[in-house]
Symmetry: C2
Subunit: 203 residues, 2 copies
């Protein structure tokens, strides 16, 4: 009854290991936020900051790169559930998740630093993009394509460019917008202007 | 005749000092691109990389911060002249200047690194924004406001949001778009989609 055996061992062990895991990913993010580049980051420094032994880290992550990818991924909010009725509403839901996420100041800072090192750590960046960026990009693409199919968006819409307009405007706000929380109605205003366009309606 | 005197001294001196100035700003950008943070950057390191003495640097810049602001500003293309006829054409001209600029790979990399340190160097960032970002922002704003006044844009347009959509989409492409040069017709396609909107035209 090995499985049963492991099972009974877990209830006591799991919460503790989850707590350690969180301490380790948080320590990793803290060190990056404080200016330690991904290259200089060491398992020693992370272990010492998290108050755990190096073996605790190696038990869970086989390399520093794995750990950094996991730590960065914790900064990304989970994909919000979509109602699937109106394309406008679903676009607002997706953009609003970006707004909420960018309200996390440390998150923005860590992400900026990590991305500025992207050229020096192509494999890490690629894995992070696959893990944390691609699923959102796919969700956005599905909603835009649904809009084209349903007639809620132009039949000849350039889907990639539409996605760039929507994400880029949110990205601009978290980078250049007034510091502090982004306005609560931002996602709605962005989607509505992107849908209606800036030109005056045809007479 | 002091002015005349200075005038005759210059023709020989100026080209050499301009050459030194360029070597110094280039050395600064190189060191940042290689991963030396703004904090670690020293006048010694810059002088040694540029092959000049520290006094040559101090003759021109009174602090490291001044030098970094000037060096970063050289990465920004000058504002393009605007025809001032069609708002659509002027928007394309402004966005196309952003496209060309972001084709400079080292420039993108240095700018990312410098901006990731923005929190740690608020005064430097503020000066750089004033020097290199504000004039472009103002130019874009003037064109958008002209469009509202002329009826080429909606009378009730949210000017700030419109500017965010236009700049943000270009920014998105230089950050997340396919690596290498951005497509030559990108600015035109972005402006046309932003003007027309993604929703189907009213029947």
């Amino acid at each position: 009854m090995t499985i049963q055996g492991t099972g009974t061992a877990r209830p006591a062990g799991r919460p503790r290991s989850e707590k350690a895991e969180k301490a380790i990913t948080e320590a990793t993010l803290d060190l990056i936020a404080e200016g330690m580049g991904v290259s200089e980051l060491s398992i020693e420094a992370i272990a010492s900051r998290a108050g755990v032994g190096k073996t605790t880290i190696y038990r869970r992550w086989s390399s520093k790169e794995d750990l950094v990818v996991d730590a960065l991924a914790t900064l990304k909010a989970p994909l919000p559930p979509l109602a699937g009725v109106s394309v406008r509403d679903d676009l607002i839901t997706l953009l609003d998740a970006m707004r909420v996420e960018s309200g996390n100041r440390r998150g923005r800072c860590v992400m900026n630093i990590a991305m500025s090192e992207a050229d020096r750590h192509p494999r890490l960046t690629e894995r992070f993009v696959k893990r944390a960026i691609e699923p959102r990009r796919r969700a956005l693409q599905e909603v835009v394509e649904r809009g084209v199919a349903s007639g809620e968006l132009r039949p000849d819409l350039d889907v990639t460019l539409a996605m760039a307009i929507l994400s880029g405007t949110m990205m601009w706000h978290s980078k250049w917008g007034p510091s502090g929380d982004l306005p609560e109605d931002l996602a709605e205003r962005v989607v509505d202007m992107a849908l209606a366009g800036m030109a005056p309606p045809a007479p």
